[in-house]
């Protein structure tokens, strides 16, 4: 009896956030449905809400994200391997570890400030694709690093011992045993970090995101825009019609994110089942 009541209360706690999720999706689809379409994707932004599109933002986001993943994933995974497998447990490495786990909790605006000062101002990259990508890479780094370390840590020690006992070197053991076994965790961590980065708005604004760009970036030093910035831009407009554009933009953004999650889930299942 009491069991049932408790069960019900707990169950409702599940349905409230899920309900909000459904309402949110419904609302977005409702508002965005009239704008969404091939035109919307292939058009440049415009002063007229009914003509505006997200083409440069979409391309910008894609380039931005590929670039930052390219930088952040190898570094994050590499650092994780080094810390887990090579670093001896001295006070210094403990300090490094605490540092890195703290980085994961630093708010994204702070990374924006960092990018602004280091890449935009000190390196003189200005508001460029490269500066944006590097800023986002910094943001992704701790996420990838923590996830990878966790994944490496959960590879049972006895597999490594088995490999070493067969006469293989530590390096080969890491390459052939540890990394393959940690791969599902590393992959999901990387994809998670990428999805986070795609949706990030604040750091890009802080490093000085232009709000109106009507061309496709043509190089690393080119200015660019990204989906969330475009959406932010539209939301901030007073005209109600732009709100519909924003909803449509959100739909595109969510589709990209859901596909990424789907890939992550697929990979996780595929590699874990063997």
């Amino acid at each position: 009896m009491i069991d049932r009541a408790c069960r019900l209360i707990c169950l409702s706690a599940i349905w409230i956030p899920l309900g909000v999720l459904f309402i949110l999706l419904f609302q977005v689809v409702l508002q965005g449905s009239e704008r969404i379409g091939l035109d919307f994707i292939t058009s440049f932004p415009s002063r007229k809400p009914e003509l505006a599109g997200i083409y440069p933002a979409l391309v910008g986001s894609c380039m931005l994200i590929s670039l930052s993943a390219l930088v952040a994933v190898p570094i994050g995974v590499g650092a994780a391997i080094y810390l887990e497998e090579y670093a001896s447990k001295t006070a210094w490495t403990r300090f490094v570890e605490i540092n890195l786990s703290n980085l994961a909790g630093v708010p994204s605006v702070i990374y924006g400030l960092l990018g602004l000062e280091i890449f935009v101002r000190i390196f003189g990259l200005g508001y460029s694709l490269l500066a944006g990508a590097l800023t986002l890479a910094l943001l992704m780094l701790p996420i990838i690093l923590t996830a990878s370390r966790e994944a490496i840590k959960t590879v049972p020690k006895h597999y490594q011992e088995a490999s070493l006992a067969l006469g293989s070197s530590k390096f080969v053991t890491i390459l052939q045993i540890v990394i393959p076994l940690a791969l599902p965790g590393i992959l999901t961590g990387s994809i998670l970090a990428t999805s986070r980065a795609i949706g990030e708005t604040a750091p890009l604004i802080v490093i000085g995101a232009a709000t109106y760009i009507a061309f496709i970036p043509d190089g690393l030093d080119s200015e660019f825009t990204a989906l969330p910035i475009q959406i932010f831009n539209w939301i901030s407009r007073p005209q109600k019609a732009f709100s519909n554009d924003a909803a449509a933009g959100i739909i595109v953004l969510l589709i990209i994110l859901f596909s990424l999650s789907a890939i992550a889930i697929f990979l996780r299942n595929r590699y874990e089942h063997r």
């Binding site: 067969l166 052939q176 063997r274």
Partner: protein
């Protein structure tokens, strides 16, 4: 013929001494069992024999271990090479989960870049045959190694160790995670293997030691109390501490 001569071996983890002056000889192509209460240093002892001990944190040792006349810690001995001569099987069966049965069987060669693709199958077959597993897996070589039952997995691990053609096989409680049926199989296998390999087996079960080994060493608090012919040790041990332990006077 002696396979190992161990002279005055002591081992530490950090400040904690877990082996004190153990001296014993291990004869070629026999099975030697190491018994003793939990924490007496059995695992540490055999991990010294393939220099896995030194991989643990804070691990240190003193004394001499001579393998086939060569000092194990001599200049010209590379621990990685050494481990190919002295194979090891662990407590929990642990075939590599991302590899097939076939790949697991030859994993020792794969991991050391010594595998010609053309030999793979024949090497795997011969190792699996020696481990008495071939007939059970020959139709499913491409299934993952972890799809086997516990006892089969442990035999796969033995096959994996055999494929690198070691002289010695160390086994650290190889049956403690297995049921009695799988245990009987492994014990029978050990009995066959000792015709061609020197086997050193750590076990919690005195009965198992009595069953599989020719020689038995009894360790207590890191000290070698007695090493004798197994039949003698279990019917009339020389040392009263051995007597007390094997007759269940632990008090």
């Amino acid at each position: 013929m002696k396979q190992f001569e161990i002279q005055n071996l002591s081992a530490w983890y950090h400040q904690n001494q877990v082996l004190s002056g153990v001296s014993l000889d291990i004869t070629l192509k026999t099975a030697t069992a190491i018994i003793g209460p939990s924490g007496c240093g059995k695992s540490t002892f055999i991990r010294c024999l393939n220099r896995m001990h030194e991989l643990s944190e804070g691990a240190r040792l003193e004394g001499k271990i001579i393998l086939d006349g060569e000092d194990l810690h001599g200049q010209q001995i590379d621990p990685v090479m050494l481990r190919r001569r002295v194979g090891m099987v662990f407590q929990k069966p642990n075939p590599f989960p991302h590899w097939s049965i076939l790949d697991n069987a030859v994993s020792g060669l794969k991991l050391t870049h010594r595998l010609k693709h053309s030999d793979k199958f024949s090497i795997a077959e011969s190792a699996l045959r020696k481990a008495a597993l071939w007939n059970e897996v020959k139709d499913r070589l491409n299934q993952p190694g972890v799809s086997l039952s516990g006892g089969q997995q442990q035999r796969l691990c033995i096959a994996r160790a055999l494929a690198v053609e070691p002289e010695v096989i160390l086994m650290d409680e190889p049956c403690s995670a297995l049921d009695p049926i799988a245990t009987a199989r492994i014990e029978d296998l050990i009995h066959d293997l000792k015709k061609n390999y020197t086997i050193i087996i750590v076990t919690h079960s005195m009965q198992q030691a009595a069953r599989v080994s020719d020689q038995t060493a009894f360790l207590l608090h890191g000290i070698l109390v007695e090493m004798s012919d197994t039949n003698q040790l279990f019917t009339s041990p020389k040392d009263s501490r051995t007597e007390d332990y094997i007759t269940g006077k632990f008090g």
